[in-house]
Symmetry: C2
Subunit: 171 residues, 2 copies
DNA sequence: TGCTACATTCAAAATGTATTGAATGTTTAT
DNA sequence: ATAAACATTCAATACATTTTGAATGTAGCA
């Protein structure tokens, strides 16, 4: 495979993955392009490379900015806005995870708690089932909070595990 | 809040959450209804309760069946198909997670590996960046495989952590 | 076999989401 | 103040997904 093909496949894959997980494909593709690019890219260059409109590029960059995973850089004597991605894969991961947890997961946990409160206790299997669901979500919540509150520790712990698992696999 | 309101909120929330994570809202709502229902439900009852067509209900049930999180039950002397949900929240979680990992995550990891292979090593920050991304995905992959291969152990471990964390919070 | 009671399929319609690009805002330089 | 060079917005349009329901398939029963 040529490098060019590989780049295209990466961008497409990233976009597809994004779409499957509720992230707009254009947004994901813009980010993929930035990941594959060393220097800063202008809105124009991004729109041209991905064959999307400037408007779309602008919106996509706006969203990536609100997530905090890209950064605006200015070149002296140049009015254009240039963008670079946050280079650290782990930080990108945490930034996205934190946002989605707050916006999407936390409200669900709230609703499950409410549901359980409003539910009569005696009747059948349902209350126990929802109770167990609450338990599961609560555990995931604690786990998530702990991980997100201690990015560095979480990272280190996972890296250690990774090494151990990698060694195991080889040995 | 009345019980009825709570049930509606739960179903809506489950559907919204599903939609945000790339699961069809009708499918998620059908499952939510089954979670909230003690006995088996027929296709007709489901369509009526959720105010969706029989066709839609049929498709949604089909999808839930392929995921293995609902089960068909037959009543003697009744030709209708009735459905119940897998009652165990953890098993539901694992069944969904396993399927999505295989279908969505694994191919992405493959593409990232290819990208890295096809990429010249010397040039700038990009190869290192993609390398780090590969590392992160690899770690998540190992973690996921380990968890999915040992449902019961994973469950126990998380339950223990949950208790410890819960105790900490109160104490 | 033919009838009945159901489930399933799938083309068409409805709905929802993403994209475009002309119009509008903003900043900088003169 | 004006123009030039850009970014942003948003109404219109294109595209994709979801939903419907009539047509079709299937299994049980007489």
């Amino acid at each position: 495979m040529t490098e060019k093909e590989a780049r295209e496949r990466f961008i497409d894959s990233w976009g597809t993955m994004g779409a499957l997980w509720g992230i707009n494909a254009s947004v994901a593709r813009v980010h993929a392009l930035l990941l594959l690019t060393d220097g800063p890219l202008s809105l124009d260059e991004i729109a041209r490379h991905l064959a999307i409109s400037r408007g779309n590029a602008s919106m996509s960059l706006k969203e990536l900015k609100t997530w905090g995973i890209i950064r605006l850089v200015k070149a002296p004597g140049d009015r254009q806005d240039y963008y670079v991605t946050e280079p650290d894969a782990w930080r990108i991961f945490f930034l996205i995870a934190r946002g989605r947890k707050r916006r999407e997961f936390d409200p669900l946990l709230g609703v499950v708690n409410e549901t359980l409160t409003a539910m009569p206790k005696g009747a059948g299997a349902v209350p126990g089932r929802i109770r167990q669901l609450q338990d599961l979500l609560q555990t995931l919540d604690w786990l998530g909070e702990a991980a997100l509150a201690n990015e560095d520790r979480c990272r280190t712990a996972l890296a250690m595990m990774s090494k151990l698992l990698g060694a195991k696999k080889k040995g």
